[in-house]
């Protein structure tokens, strides 16, 4: 069989998602954002949501998410994405509205907006990238930074005495009556990517079916911030991050139906 014979449409097993723009991203090689962007772009296409979706971008590395995924976007102030999404969703109930936020955005400066949007059971999906560090501003401590972890603002390692404890925000969100689905996933292996895709799909379905707030935490790597190679980052994540942030569902719709 020649190369020409192999390169045929019917043999194609993988391609760039239609809704992911053909351009280079600003993300570092090995960063989890690219994979999660791809999943979202695939799902929006597969679910036929291209023309009725509004994404809300955060402040942080994903601030430019609107440059890559071909749906309407609103770029929120730091931490305010859930408030922005609240109004976008309530005023346009026919649309899918999702937020895409990092740990600093969702669990530090935007904690109040996150908790109250989830507590009101806003019919939105929150995609939460947790890599335990501030990537965009150059590797400072995040609310989810592990104890002992070195960052630009904890150069000797995070200590509980000085900085408090890593914040398991998804566990808190799972206790709220307004959330219908809270899950923690990762994208470090093909199997994990498939699971994350299924989780985000479920979150989008919940939002469209008005079941309340869904939260998909994706425990992620930041090889630049962590100062490790992409492969080493994945190993470090499995060894350390998963201990504090174990993967799995924290709340599923069947367990606790929304009042």
């Amino acid at each position: 069989m020649t190369t020409e014979e192999i390169i045929q449409p019917q043999n194609k097993v993988y391609s760039r998602p239609r809704l992911l723009d053909e351009r280079d991203t600003h993300y570092c090689p090995g960063c989890s954002h690219g994979v999660v962007h791809k999943i979202i772009a695939e799902l929006l296409d597969e679910m036929g949501l291209e023309n009725k979706t509004v994404g809300v971008a955060p402040v942080g590395c994903a601030v430019f998410a609107y440059n890559y995924i071909d749906v309407d976007w609103v770029e929120a102030a730091h931490g305010r994405a859930p408030a922005v999404a609240t109004a976008a969703s309530r005023l346009n109930p026919q649309n899918l509205v999702f937020t895409y936020q990092g740990d600093g955005d969702l669990a530090a400066i935007g904690t109040a907006e996150t908790i109250h949007a989830a507590n009101r059971g806003e019919n939105i999906a929150m995609i939460f990238i947790n890599n335990g560090i501030y990537g965009m501003t150059g590797g400072q401590m995040a609310p989810t930074t592990l104890l002992g972890m070195k960052t630009a603002t904890t150069p000797y390692g995070r200590t509980a005495e000085l900085n408090g404890y890593p914040l398991p925000i998804s566990n808190i969100l799972a206790t709220l009556d307004g959330t219908c689905y809270v899950t923690r996933q990762a994208v470090h292996t093909p199997a994990a990517v498939r699971k994350t895709k299924a989780a985000i799909k479920k979150a989008f379905e919940n939002a469209l079916a008005k079941r309340g707030t869904s939260v998909v935490e994706v425990v992620s790597t930041c090889n630049s911030g962590w100062k490790l190679s992409p492969a080493k980052s994945n190993e470090w994540m499995v060894e350390h991050m998963f201990e504090k942030y174990p993967l799995g569902d924290l709340k599923t719709p069947s367990e606790e139906p929304k009042n």
């Binding site: 309407d72 609103v74 770029e75 929120a76 102030a77 609240t86 109004a87």
Partner: protein
């Protein structure tokens, strides 16, 4: 009805799509009245009590980004919290209405009336170079009418507008004529009026992105030039003011909001005593009626600004009338002057009247 209640009624009748607020005295009646009227059952208007003023203004940002007519109301400390969102709304060139029923400050201050947020409202307020269209109502009728005016101007220029009321106008009860009920815009009307709105692509080929971010300095400067061009246009077209006894006046008072009504009483008393005093009441505090003040300044001996603050608008009056003696009389801490005090202040600053 009260000025605050009038705002709520006017919002429903204008066909506003959403109100997002947080309770704070002396404007809580806006949200309370809306909650009581349940417009979501009639016009479909969304009314939501947010967890904070910060969340409320960001809900306004989110709603405005989708092309909806959305508003919030608050009072001074709450409006300080909203400044982040207001700056984003201005930078994203979105229409929205913000109501500030001012109370005395700084800090937690007092719940009594004030006009001490003049600088914050007309000079920007939040970070960056921007302007709000600022309307100053003096009556409950104007509280009503300025909801429609504020939204019309906000949509015309894609720029946030603010009703800068003082606690007196918010709490005062007067008769009002409410406008007829307008239907809310349909989805099709919204898409036609706001082709920029991020409301889902629909039939559009390209996506709409609402953002204030531009890391390319040259393009960011271009954005700034575009904002400034809009402000210039607003300054040319939208100055609003009212004059009283100004034609033959030897002395001019400049005052806005409820204070202008007290000054009018003082002017009538002065005229009875043979002192020819007139008044200019700015209705738009930004754009400021500087040309009109400059014109009137040519024929008067002096100008007194009367404000519920330590002297804020007086600076803009001095800029407009640099060769005319301009003085300020103000009360603070929630105290409102009576007409006699205004007259007394006029005589103190212009000894020839004593």
């Amino acid at each position: 009805m009260k000025g605050n209640e009038a705002i709520a009624h006017a919002a429903i009748r204008y066909g506003v799509d959403g109100y997002f607020g947080y309770p704070i005295t002396p404007q809580s009646e806006v949200l309370e009245t809306l909650a009581e009227l349940k417009p979501w059952e009639t016009t479909g208007m969304v009314v939501l009590q947010a967890e904070s003023e910060v969340a409320a203004i960001n809900m306004v940002y989110g709603g405005a980004a989708t092309g909806k007519a959305v508003m919030t109301s608050s009072s001074s400390p709450g409006v300080s919290l909203k400044q982040e969102g207001i700056s984003y709304i201005a930078a994203s060139e979105l229409p929205a209405l913000i109501v500030n029923v001012m109370r005395g400050g700084p800090g937690l201050g007092t719940i009594q009336p004030s006009q001490a947020d003049y600088f914050q409202a007309v000079k920007g307020g939040g970070h960056g170079d921007y302007h709000l269209i600022v309307l100053a109502p003096a009556t409950v009728q104007e509280m009503t009418d300025f909801v429609a005016l504020g939204f019309d101007l906000a949509f015309k220029y894609r720029n946030p507008a603010m009703i800068l009321a003082d606690g007196v106008v918010g709490q005062m009860m007067e008769k009002v004529v409410l406008p007829p009920q307008r239907p809310r815009r349909t989805e099709e009307e919204l898409r036609a009026q706001c082709p920029w709105a991020a409301c889902g692509k629909g039939d559009r080929k390209n996506r709409n992105v609402i953002t204030s971010l531009e890391l390319d300095s040259a393009r960011m400067e271009e954005n700034n030039h575009r904002f400034q061009a809009t402000y210039k246009l607003i300054e040319q077209n939208e100055v609003r003011y009212q004059t009283y006894y100004a034609d033959d006046a030897d002395y001019l008072i400049v005052a806005f909001g409820s204070v202008a009504r007290i000054c009018l009483k003082a002017i009538e008393e002065a005229r009875e005593a043979g002192i020819k005093v007139g008044m200019l009441r700015p209705i738009t505090l930004w754009p400021f009626p500087k040309t009109q003040i400059a014109e009137l300044a040519k024929s008067v001996r002096g100008i007194l600004t009367v404000e519920l603050n330590a002297g804020q608008m007086v600076e803009d009056v001095r800029l407009a009338a640099p060769t005319t003696p301009v003085y300020h009389f103000g009360r603070m801490g929630g105290i409102v002057p009576n007409p006699g005090e205004v007259l007394q202040a006029l005589k103190e600053h212009f000894p020839e009247l004593a």
